[in-house]
Subunit: 261 residues, 2 copies
């Protein structure tokens, strides 16, 4: 089965991103990779049949097919008959194909550092931003867990944001960053795109807190990286385009009361 599957793959098969329309969410990390690489992709968020292509794959009746186990949640990447989910996993697959990881022949273990940094940004820094407005139950309304959210947001602002910013500042000062422009190896990787998007989302959700963190001067390398990625030609063009979705009711939400001192 597996050999057949792989041998069927065509080089020019389109990349398809299956995700909710209307929020950047975790799908945004995949979009930024395609945009930076200048590679065409089909995006469910911008196509009329996006929902009908996406939701059957995460239905609790779906039992997968010969080329794919079921998926718990989107984003899902479809590439020919390969269908995979989990954001860091999709990036792991795309990284070498889009030139967003160190060259395998020169640095065979670079991918593990890129993956480590990506997991730290996504499953820590970014996921915990979601939990500030949904600390009790992801399926219930914010308004029904607001008291708990107010408490959790204090911890996120006072302890977690400084912890993650401090961590990435150290990464950018480490010998493996090779100069501090990017997280690893002196060259842009998808880990930088993930950190950029996480910082951008956290800045939207907690503008006061982030302003004060930036003004503290403690995390200069992190914010320089943020501006550096934002200013890259293809990213800049993308962020100004209609393809970039607005933040709304997704992972990153701006509730002013969660950002108060």
């Amino acid at each position: 089965m597996a050999t057949t599957r792989s041998s069927k793959r065509q080089k020019n098969e389109p990349y398809e991103l299956l995700y909710h329309a209307g929020i950047p969410g975790r799908g945004e990390h995949i979009r930024l990779a395609f945009e930076e690489a200048g590679v065409e992709y089909w995006d469910a968020a911008h196509n009329d049949n996006g929902a009908s292509e996406t939701y059957p794959l995460i239905s609790d009746k779906y039992t997968g097919n010969a080329h794919s186990p079921p998926h718990l949640a989107p984003p899902i990447l479809r590439h020919g008959d390969l269908t995979i989910s989990q954001t860091p996993n999709i990036l792991l697959y795309l990284g070498p194909r889009l030139g967003l990881v160190p060259d395998q022949s020169e640095d065979p273990e670079g991918i593990y550092y890129i993956n480590q940094l990506t997991l730290t940004a996504l499953d820590g820094f970014s996921n915990e931003a979601h939990d500030t407005h949904h600390p009790i139950a992801s399926g219930e309304y914010y308004e029904d867990q607001k008291d708990e959210a107010l408490r959790r947001a204090v911890d996120y602002r006072l302890n977690r944001i400084p912890k993650f910013l401090g961590y990435f500042e150290r990464v950018l000062g480490s010998p493996t960053s090779q100069g501090g422009e990017y997280l690893y190896g002196g060259k842009l990787s998808y880990a930088d795109l993930v950190l950029f998007q996480t910082l951008d989302g956290v800045s939207f959700a907690f503008p006061k807190c982030v302003k004060s963190a930036r003004e503290s001067g403690k995390y200069g390398k992190v914010w320089a990286l943020y501006e550096r990625v934002k200013g890259r030609a293809k990213i800049k063009e993308y962020l100004a385009s209609d393809r970039r979705l607005k933040y709304s009711m997704g992972i990153y939400r701006h509730y002013p009361e969660l950002d108060e001192e």
Copy 2:
């Protein structure tokens, strides 16, 4: 730098697991991989110098070395001069080396399915178990967030446990499982070990809830996998040994009040 690093690696360099002593925690997923593979490893939990080897690498003063960026948290794997963190990342590195993923030449994309299933178990099912007793702040005491914990545990028991069990039941019924004995490809992979350990931890933390889920008969394939992994010769020997640490104040904690109807 990278080429030198890689070429220095010796085949017989020891695997070293750097993690907290006293709890199985996320380090347990790495231990189970070594134990199933029958491969020797040095374990910080069972050595006097374990803490002095581990904690400097996650100090907020540590800026990495030529072969390793800083780490946010353990577990950390050291293998020669490679030092990597993040549990799913360590497993990704070890999988091919320990024979716990599909053969790369026969199924080059199998690793992405194994990684997808691992991330779903670890960053969803398992992490959320931790959040039931620490829904507000991981740095504060349970007793100081007990009201919120009681509320969050209800959601975990009523919505999240059934969601994850249902998902993995479907995975075991999917064509890619190839028979339902293991999650992917008819053969044990590290994703099965991760699911086993997560189920074991959740069973410790929520015994009543799990008893009722098992008796419902809805997740027969999942619990059969749990027993199948538990009964594998090397795992069985390991679980009965002193090397298997007891659950205590880690990810999985048994607070009877969080398990009540």
